[in-house]
Symmetry: none
Subunit: 155 residues, 4 copies
């Protein structure tokens, strides 16, 4: 059982990503990183804008090293944007609080992250979720720790 | 009488930190820095996310070199976010206006700072306060100078 | 006739790169960028060290935006290291004077760059040249302008 | 079998490090990182200069993500200092070609790195090697790929 995504895993991800990109007819970029956030595979499909691979890397990196999907950081970013803005620069790539990133977790172990960029926020997120669902990665992640506390504050 | 925290002080802090981390059942990271904001001790307890030591350092650093707990900078950050954003990059580590950092002050002398990351904002802050209280560090700090001025403005 | 490498071109490059990586038995990373130096495709083959994709990007980027293979910048780097050191930070990625990068040029038009990292300098360079030769990209590039001038100086 | 060093592993490392630091009578700093180069534990023993924890982190980071001890990068740094200088900035922390860092590898798997700073180069290196030897980590690492090639060049 590999402890990080390998090329073989990345290729399976890319096949689904390309199929979905063609289906929705958008130029998309996909990034796959390992559990430490290091690049394993990136593809900018035809028509995707030049910066989209960088955006995809940031979503994949975030989902890997924060150990939850990048979109789950939104409550944190919203509730404390100044502090989150600083945290966002504390890693090797930007830590972003936006949809389109999914953590790759298998048998309870963190093995990497993927990031999608180039579609609408909903399309990016849906594509990332499709990859995770079809390939059977785990889908349970702990919410941002502050979310519950803040909900309680408002009671 | 040493004017900076030493390893012996840091170990006492870590014992309490680990006990509290286990008690609340969260993966936490703790940083201890000296009065100049330089690292003395860092521990990422099992289960803490990879970036949390960097966040803990920023809180400890801020509390040491600003000579008040990091959370006391919130009024400043809120009232002048553009300027605070610039100040936040003027040190060796990010200067952050968020809870979870406490200044280490003993007999009126600034001797260091601690930072906690990985729990809810309330948990991080409470753990830092518990350390300071149990070990008998001073707890009186001058408010940010602008706080009073601004309150006066509104009179 | 497209003026930039597309996914289809990148895939042909990756097939050769993977074949050669397996043949020499090294963990290698390959990057393909377009004529503006933007990522088109990156693959870190199994066993390649985590930083090698970043090194591969720098070689591909350099070869694309300097419009000559990265190794051809060595005379410049050697003859004026202070200035070259400054130039090396003026792009989006580091501009490097080392082997393993090849410019992708077709019918006289600059269409991108590739970078190889993870083998010996000779292996990286040979693999990049093999890709270019097998796929029929142009191989004529203008020497760095300073090379001739300096040779003249010594006459 | 854990895939990354945990606190328990780090504590065992720190016990040896502190014993050796006391034995040679120098103020030393020790850093332990996981396989992705993220901080697990840092200690600046009494008397160590303020910047030594940062130096220790760079050695530990390098040894983890380059998957060989930091000192094994010296031939690369010596043979191509301009390029190595650029590579040194491509990670989250500086990549350094100096003694005092050891890769943590167990049963053939990369699980982290340690870095020592504050003694002579020989003392730092010896301490790191002592830790690795006493705790039974693997000690076989592939040389820098260019080393053999360059030796051949000189034949």
């Amino acid at each position: 059982m590999p402890k990080n995504v390998m090329q073989d895993d990345a290729e399976k991800i890319m096949v689904i990503a390309e199929r979905e990109a063609l289906r929705i007819g958008k130029g998309l970029s996909i990034a796959v990183v390992d559990s430490g956030g290091f690049i394993v595979s990136i593809r900018r499909f035809d028509g995707a804008r030049p910066i989209t691979p960088m955006i995809a890397i940031s979503k994949a990196y975030t989902s890997a090293v924060m150990q939850r999907p990048s979109g789950m950081l939104k409550p944190w970013s919203n509730s404390d944007p100044a502090f989150f803005g600083q945290v966002s620069t504390m890693g090797h790539f930007p830590i972003v609080a936006t949809g389109g990133g999914m953590t790759l977790k298998r048998d309870g172990e963190f093995v990497g992250g993927i990031g999608v960029s180039g579609g609408t926020p909903q399309e990016d997120q849906l594509l990332a979720e499709t990859v995770v669902a079809e390939l059977g990665y785990d889908t349970d992640f702990a919410e941002w720790a502050g979310a519950k506390a803040r909900a309680d504050d408002q009671d």
